[in-house]
Symmetry: C2
Amino acid sequence: MAGLEGSIALVSIDLPGREYDIHIGSGLLGDVQSWRGVPAAAMAVVVTNETVGPLYLEQCVRGLAPHFRRIETIALPDGEAFKSWESLQKVIDFLIARGADRKTVLVALGGGVIGDLTGFAAAVYMRGLAFVQVPTTLLAQVDSSVGGKTAINHPSGKNMVGAFHQPVRVISDLSCFETLSAREFSAGLAEVIKYGPIADAQFFEWLDGNIEALMRRDAEALAHAVKRSCEIKADVVAKDERESDLRAILNFGHTFGHAIETGVGYGQWLHGEAVACGMVMAADLSVRLGLMPEQFVTKLRSLIERAGLPVRAPNIGLDRFVELMRLDKKAEAGDIRFVLIEQLGKAVLRSAPEPLVREVIAAHTEA
Amino acid sequence: MAGLEGSIALVSIDLPGREYDIHIGSGLLGDVQSWRGVPAAAMAVVVTNETVGPLYLEQCVRGLAPHFRRIETIALPDGEAFKSWESLQKVIDFLIARGADRKTVLVALGGGVIGDLTGFAAAVYMRGLAFVQVPTTLLAQVDSSVGGKTAINHPSGKNMVGAFHQPVRVISDLSCFETLSAREFSAGLAEVIKYGPIADAQFFEWLDGNIEALMRRDAEALAHAVKRSCEIKADVVAKDERESDLRAILNFGHTFGHAIETGVGYGQWLHGEAVACGMVMAADLSVRLGLMPEQFVTKLRSLIERAGLPVRAPNIGLDRFVELMRLDKKAEAGDIRFVLIEQLGKAVLRSAPEPLVREVIAAHTEA
């Protein structure tokens, strides 16, 4: 990690009545400057997990210290299983026990699970507290830090209970990637790569030319990738805050991907890995529908491979694969709709003939 | 109940991006017209309680029937104790079990507890469902049907967990008062009376001249009282949706009132009863601070008495009374702020010297 120590890229999110900045750079966490302008309050409560806490909590508290009279911390166990009612109640109970009031600021220090859970706690405690998101994974920095989606899981489904609640600040510290495993890092890259085909041909070309720099975690390349990803997502979200068709383009690769994730059993494939493979399939479906030239699949697949991501789905059976896609919550009245690319940088939402879908699945599945 | 069968008063609530109408009249519940224009969906889920359900569910379902393919119902036990995490989870589990999707419409059929709880479930299920509020008590019709506040209680405090979530329609059926006890009805009147001094001198005069008609539950008088109360609250809320100083004027009588409620133990006095007595005290404090003439207290007290409401606080001890006011969540940093009247129809938020406050409490407390 080099070249960007101290320097900052800024993305301004501008939704009506809820503007906030995303600070992107290395070493931001412990820097008091990162926290300047966060609403003044007597108390900040940092919610983190037992993996991230020991690594970054001390820095985080150092950055927060000059801005708050009191800093309280709660660490939940690590993992998707703890994005639950029980964890939410634990955080709420903690806030009450520590006397949190309407001005208390919540800080989410961790990946997507901590961000979603803490954001939801902030959304509902006393009907809404300010919260700062400190995403420590690449995936969280380029995905959940923009859009205001917060949630917990229900035994029957992911993100079944939640709210739209925007943070007052996002601090994306690239230094946190130092402790991110290669596999987690690549999974985050899948979501970065996604933004090219759906919204920005130039970014897609840039990724193609800079994937090796990203893979060696070059700070400058990372700063650009995170910044551009956030900008694109912010642009899509601003046009369609409440998720109808436009926002759905962010799910490029997700319809196939979800089937893979569910088919192999949650936790076997990382979300980003399934999305990566799903993007290859969605790209191929775009080609077979005559929307894109053949070379698009080749180029996207190569990029995904160089990012250390899988391009072939596990063999879970063709019928089962299709059935799982149907069960996906994005499917309406049995008609599976796909995010397809109709032009590099332009996505479209449409259904496709099932035989063609089956061909695509078969073509990209391990024997 | 007579004179208004079928006729409707309409109040339009106009918050940016979230407009909705309040229909006020007799016999609205079973009238399919009342439900026209509610967002189309395959399924409506009615949440009610075990007291209200047997009385009004059938009518409600009759009104809903032409608009939805499926109508599901869940009845919770009656009472504030059920405005809880457990009830929320029960409703969420029910929604999941019945396959509710993002388009499902929730209907809250009941008083404030059902309205707050159902509204909160609607706010968080899949990050937000449309919901229709059908307030069956006078209090709920003039108070919780406007403002978008939803919540559940926590063992440590009321409304600790909640959200701002506006209904898509409010159906205020005056016929529901037929089954409302005299005590509950009077408690609702306390909140109606409140709107006069804080916002509308003319309405205060109207109430003074029509309190007997209201007490015999004259439909025309009721329709006007409910309509004007909603209009005033809507006006205050529109100017200050997120509750800062302006919205606080809606708490006229509440600082003294909360101390009474807590002092005698929750459930002993109804909220409206405590607010009624609290209004007399706040009026007297306004007089003692030289803001209003002596006659104001006399007139307000008389109106409150004619509404069947208490004007003398129970003797819980002067020190304890003051201490309880300090603990009220509206108190900031120990300084108790009161909603006072500085002119009939105009409220102001300010603190007062403690000796004066003690004089007021003593003057309106039972020996």
